[in-house]
């Protein structure tokens, strides 16, 4: 198991939230249930307080901003649409089909997933491809745990994810001549999917995921642009072929399969060198910071891309 660190802010920087479950308690649960490399590393260093702090500016984004500034085109293209138009979305009951090149395909009930794999808190940076960012305390479990339980077959090289299609509950899926194609699909290489940082989140700030954030279960890949984090997942399929991904289908020259955060590779229509910090700054002074390669997780993930031309495989 790889012992590694990922940079986190101090606990003391976390905005207190009502109902917020203690980080340590959640973390402990995660270790017991999952027993993953990531969790062991956390335990070994004596808890998050030992980790070198981020710059003071990088504190968690207020919950209200996390839940009211969303890209979730199934509900609409405005940032405020998901919070405003997701009222009729029903995240329960929910099941996730795990199939494809696995030894044990299974239809998981959401509650069983949570029971089997537990929940731990992960404070991650979230960098949107639109050059803004947040810092979000997610609750969830490593995708690796689920994939290990499913048993990837020899030859499986990619993981394909499928989101939900419910036009009656998701106004953005109705009509929409110019919209994305539904269902929203995403994909990872198997080694990316197995990386301990890759999270299946079922909560944020210690609460169940609100509909607008991808209820009831979503992907979080903190070193990639936010659109890789497919929401409201219904199916996870292992394949030997690189799966299609929604934004890449929409505009292949603007959105690659990898979508690793990279300040040196601009989006054709805007610079990726820096990012606006949501929840900070004021009307006449927006808060910005330089964007980091792999969103600051280079130490943990750069080895996955050795020998690759990140300009070509953007």
């Amino acid at each position: 198991m790889v012992a590694y660190q990922y940079p986190r802010p101090r606990s003391s920087e976390i905005t207190p939230q009502p109902l917020f479950v203690s980080r340590r308690a959640v973390l402990a649960g995660g270790i017991m249930a999952a027993g993953l490399g990531a969790s062991s590393a956390f335990a070994a260093d004596g808890g998050p307080d030992n980790v070198a702090a981020w710059p003071a500016a990088e504190k968690p984004t207020p919950l209200n901003d996390v839940t009211h500034y969303n890209n979730f085109y199934e509900f609409g293209t405005d940032k405020s649409d998901p919070a405003e138009l997701s009222g009729s979305f029903k995240p329960t009951p929910w099941s996730v089909q795990v199939d494809g090149m696995v030894d044990k395909p299974k239809q998981w009930d959401l509650a069983d997933l949570q029971k089997q794999f537990g929940q731990e808190e992960r404070l991650y940076r979230m960098r949107c491809v639109e050059a803004w960012s947040m810092v979000i305390p997610w609750n969830g479990f490593s995708l690796a745990a689920l994939l290990k339980a499913a048993g990837p077959k020899v030859g499986a090289r990619y993981v394909a994810f499928t989101s939900v299609v419910r036009p009656s509950e998701m106004p953005g899926q109705r009509g929409g001549l110019f919209a994305l194609k539904w269902p929203y699909v995403e994909g990872l290489r198997l080694d990316e999917a197995m990386h301990p940082l890759t999270l299946l989140a079922t909560g944020v700030y210690g609460q169940a995921l609100p509909a607008q954030n991808g209820a009831p279960i979503r992907l979080v890949v903190p070193w990639k642009y936010g659109f890789k984090g497919i929401k409201s997942i219904t199916r996870i399929t292992l394949t030997d072929q690189q799966p299609p991904t929604s934004w890449n289908l929409m505009a292949p020259e603007e959105y690659g399969f990898y979508a690793n955060v990279n300040p040196a590779v601009d989006h054709p229509r805007w610079s990726q060198a820096s990012e606006q910090i949501i929840g900070e700054g004021s009307l006449f002074r927006s808060a910005r910071k330089p964007t980091q390669l792999f969103n600051g997780y280079a130490e943990q993930v750069a080895h996955l891309y050795q020998g690759m031309d990140l300009r070509k495989d953007f």
Binding site: Y69, K79, A179, D266, S271, S282
Partner: protein, 208 residues
Amino acid sequence: MPSSPSPRRKRARFSPVTRQVFLYLFFLFPAVLDIAQGMTGALGPNPVSVCLHDFGRYAFRFLLASLVVTPLKRFLGVDIMLYRRPLGLLAFTYAALHVFFYVVVARQLDMHVLWKDFTSRPFLTFGILTFIILAVLAATSTRRAIRALGRKWAQLHKLVYVAMVLASIHYSIAFKTWHVEPFIYAALALFVLALRLVPKQNRRKVGT
């Protein structure tokens, strides 16, 4: 055309210039409202982006409105020629706010990034060209400039048609996916521009 007192006006309480100023100030209200809300936190998590986009849309609307004035008179006989200049100046004002929020607030005067933006990203190139035209037209909208330029003034101000086309393209390609709204705006813009192509002798037919 310089504004001349309309024959339909009777016993106006305010002078034409006063009425022009009133109209201009009245339609600054959306900007004042956005800025006030942005400063008090009522515009949500990203007030900069709300202001940026709102002001861009208002610039488009007032540019469109200024171009409606002439066909309105020609085809429907409604004369609001007096308000063409303040409408044009409103378009410029909102465009200036839009550019200010992009260049100063969002991009924080990062010249390296801005240079690349305006020279290599088509939607921003179209945008900044539109703004340059509007700035030239606004600067030559004074009585003195109109008099000094004489015939050339009318020719110069035909650039407003170019600005309308550039703005339509800028808005249409500004999003990650194709949005319907910019195309509705662009269609309206094309319509008011196309009205200019109607030959004078046919006007009765089109007007009815």
